[in-house]
């Protein structure tokens, strides 16, 4: 009984230990400059995508097309800007493009009853093709000189916090969140309680895509270009972050706050190892091993507590 209560503390504890180790070993780790760079550059985009992924996992599935939605948004944003529309219109268009990807997923999963893994795999493939064709094989599209947008200082962070707040509250306290939870943990019960599976699946797919759309806009604005297929780089870390985040919940549920911590975990390790002077490539290994470790611990210990 007591053991179960302690489990959610694992991640923060390990995290704390790691931070301390890095602070001691690497002088610049806790400096304002480093933290600022860590948060603004690395953390933001992965965090937003991971927030979207949280919904997909909470609903009992997964979304492999998060990168696609992000890239579609980024593409639309740049193209719309370049054709003379203001940034607001461009952003709106970008979000619409991302939502389109989400809608396709919703139809595949909710309408055709294809499993989320395979449905989003298909979307990912089609989206990859589309991007390759539109960008002539991976050529970035740059925002025209006079139209470049700067992304002011803390804006990205505010976006993340705002999104996290909205998505987090909706998941934790909203009616949708409760329905999602039921669907993800006990789909038959959800059905027998009158919940509409189709509606839940659709909303999840759209919500995930929307978050990725926001990330796409941010990315496009930050690098002032659309770089094809750049979204895929976030996929695996997003999945990892979400599952790491589940260790924070007593019941092992996917949750937004835990996901953010998971993202931070991944970023901090990479950053810290870099500062310590570890070979960049060993960083990858270390990150991978740590993720493996946290997941193993989470699943194995939960099983042990259940059996006890």
């Amino acid at each position: 009984m007591k053991l179960r209560a302690l489990l959610p503390l694992t991640l923060p504890l390990v995290f704390g230990v790691i931070v301390v180790v890095f602070a001691v070993q690497a002088p610049g780790f806790l400096s304002a400059g480093n933290l600022k760079s860590l948060v603004l550059n690395n953390f933001v985009l992965l965090a937003i995508v991971s927030i979207g992924m949280t919904y997909a996992v909470a609903a009992g599935g997964i979304d492999l097309s998060v990168g696609t939605a992000l890239d579609f948004a980024s593409f639309s944003f740049v193209v719309l800007l370049n054709s003379g529309h203001g940034w607001a219109v461009a952003a709106a268009g970008a979000l619409a493009a991302a939502l389109l990807v989400g809608l396709v997923n919703a139809v595949l999963i909710g309408g055709l009853r294809i499993s989320p893994f395979l449905a989003t795999l298909g979307t990912l493939f089609i989206g990859t093709s589309a991007q390759q064709l539109l960008s002539d094989g991976g050529q970035p599209i740059y925002i025209a000189q006079g139209l470049k947008l700067g992304v002011a200082g803390l804006t990205p962070l505010l976006v993340v916090l705002g999104l996290a707040l909205f998505y987090g509250v909706l998941l934790a306290r909203g009616r949708l969140g409760r329905e999602l939870l039921a669907q993800g943990t006990q789909p038959l019960l959800a059905y027998y309680s009158g919940l509409s599976v189709r509606r839940i699946v659709t909303v999840v797919a759209l919500a995930t895509a929307l978050a990725c759309g926001v990330a796409g806009v941010l990315l496009g604005a930050t690098v002032s270009a659309y770089v094809p297929l750049s979204g895929n780089a976030f996929l695996l870390n997003a999945i990892g972050a979400v599952f790491i985040g589940t260790t924070l919940s007593r019941q092992g549920r996917a949750n937004v706050f835990g996901t953010l911590l998971g993202v931070l975990f991944i970023n901090v390790i990479a950053n810290g190892l870099l500062l310590i002077g570890w070979n960049f490539y060993w960083q990858q290994v270390a990150t991978g091993v740590l993720i493996f470790g946290v997941l193993t611990f989470s699943f194995a210990s939960r099983r042990l507590v259940e059996l006890a």
Binding site: I114, L118, Q132, G288
Partner: protein, 316 residues
Amino acid sequence: MLEALLRRGSVGVFLAILVGFAVAAPNFLSVGNLANVFSQSAILGVLAFGLTCVIIGGGSNVVAGGLDLSLAANLGLCAAVFSRLNNVGLALWLTVSLTLACGVAVGLVNGLAVVLLRLPPLLATLASMNVLAGLELVLTENTVVSTDSPLLDLLSGGAWLGVPALAWVLLVTAGLLTLLIQHSPYGLRLHAVGEYPQAAEAAGLRNARYVLSSYLLSGLCAAVAALCSAAFFSGSTTGSGDMLLSVVAIAFLGVVFSRRLVASIPGTLFAALLIGFLINGFQLLNVSSFWVNGVQGVLILLVVAASSALSRGGHP
């Protein structure tokens, strides 16, 4: 009706595509071109065989069933291992053995994570993929590690009876695995374990052993594919991670080429060749190769939608 269409139709579609390309592209059916397709499909094909073994042993329910996402990263690592060891000057037989051992060791770790730690295969192989990608980077420092070896020369340039060596590798691997998975008692039992674990247990089988062995097989396939890749690229390459999704697509597409609509080695072979012919045909017709991904995606969706419609409608 849909069932018959799916089963017999797929081969028909395959042939129709071949005929279409043959008509449209002058050199399509030339022996040289066909041989080319076979050998270019070798890497993806052998990887897909490994994934097929895992799917068969773990059940084809994607989230909870058998899956190995670390295959492509395993290939990258093994290719890097081979290149580095070869460059250090080890004897060929030792280099090859260690490369194969590396692949199998990865399979062992995956298998134990799934069977002992009870991690869902999706997560276990996702995590190990991360680790492997990192290890590969450590070995290659994110560059191509070129290497030279009589084995690689043989694989990339050799031919026997007019058929290129890589094509032989694809066909021989397919043949051996078909014998093992589709025709041996082990294979039949592996199918039982994956499809209906309770029935397998009631029949006295030890499910855990079969599941573990399927991961060992996939690790071995990754190592073999790594040798092919090393031959193709004269060393290790940095883009191996991109192969993963195509491999998954091929393994799931292969379902449609089997009479019983389950994952199978011959079916996967057909699917790999189908993709290979598509890519090749597009090249000959000067159609942008960027269409390939999209076509793969649409194919997967069609196949899965059709099979899931079938499985929901057909319970006696």
